[in-house]
């Protein structure tokens, strides 16, 4: 039995993960909390778990956060 961290990390799933639909529905709220250092992960642990595992949703979040931070 070996130690294969990349494969192990990919295969691990988090039961708290809420999936794309719920995460994207709250993404605007989550982004503002992250921007304000307002405890986003504590308030929305399922969204945080999802963004750690889903590349496309994390990419959308990065874009949204960048937009929030560049707002005039």
């Amino acid at each position: 039995m070996g130690d294969w961290p990349a494969l192990d990390a990919f295969l691990r799933t988090d039961p708290a993960d809420v999936g794309c639909e719920q995460a994207l529905a709250m993404l605007h709220v989550y982004a503002e909390l992250v921007d304000a250092a307002g405890g986003a992960e504590d308030r929305f642990p399922g969204v945080a778990a999802h963004l750690r595992a889903c590349g496309p949703c994390a990419d959308d979040f990065d874009g949204l956060l960048a937009a929030v931070r560049s707002a005039p």
Partner: protein, 210 residues
């Protein structure tokens, strides 16, 4: 005096209303969406293999589609965030969706060819340690063949082996991101359970949490 929004209520009043303030609010919103869309397509441009006018065209299409969606859903704005953050979400999603469709129309990788030779690279299995991971790689392949449904296998091959973006599979299969993600979630659970049960990976069979 030109229209400007001091707060969310100004936006909602003007967008729901009519006359000069309504028209100015529409123009201001469109300009905002185009600015965010342009920034977003440029942020993703390295993966897009698009440049110049094509990128700008994609940004304008995303902004226009976001505008339609926003105006159709104004009544669903609940004030949980600033109005502008809420509208940014629409345009980011439009860019994301259009990028997925762009890859689907202009594929750089095959959808269904089974590139098993790329598996070691996908999971950081170094050639110098092949003697150690060869059995593991064979076990992954066996698990894919025996444990997954045809749909799960198709999604695994496209996304993991061939590197097809998840959003491109959404277009390819006429599905939703949530459904494809759920398929991959189940694939990950099944493969991990098989590999742990058969002694190829350490840890609990559930593999949940980190």
């Amino acid at each position: 005096m030109p229209w400007s929004a001091e707060d969310d209520q100004d936006w909602l009043r003007a967008l729901r209303g009519s006359g000069a303030a309504h028209e100015e609010a529409l123009g201001t919103l469109h300009a905002l969406l185009v600015r965010v869309a342009r920034t977003e397509v440029h942020r993703r441009s390295a993966r897009l293999r698009l440049a110049g006018p094509e990128l700008d065209d994609l940004a304008h299409q995303a902004a226009a589609d976001a505008m339609v969606a926003i105006l159709g859903k104004l009544e669903t704005f609940r004030g949980e965030s600033r109005f502008t953050t809420w509208v940014y979400r629409f345009v980011i999603f439009e860019v994301s969706s259009k990028v997925g469709r762009h890859f689907w129309r202009n594929p750089t990788v095959p959808m269904d060819k089974e590139s098993w030779d790329l598996l070691p690279d996908r999971f950081g299995l170094e050639p110098t340690r092949e003697a150690e991971w060869r059995d593991l790689a064979d076990a992954v392949r066996r698990a894919v063949d025996t444990e997954l449904t045809p749909r799960q296998r198709q999604v695994f091959v496209a996304i993991v082996l061939n590197g097809v973006p998840l959003d491109t599979m959404v277009t390819e299969l006429g599905s939703s991101r949530n459904a494809i993600y759920k398929t991959m979630f189940d694939v990950r659970r099944k493969l991990r359970a098989h590999l742990v049960t058969n002694g190829y990976l350490n840890g609990d069979v559930g593999g949940e949490g980190s």
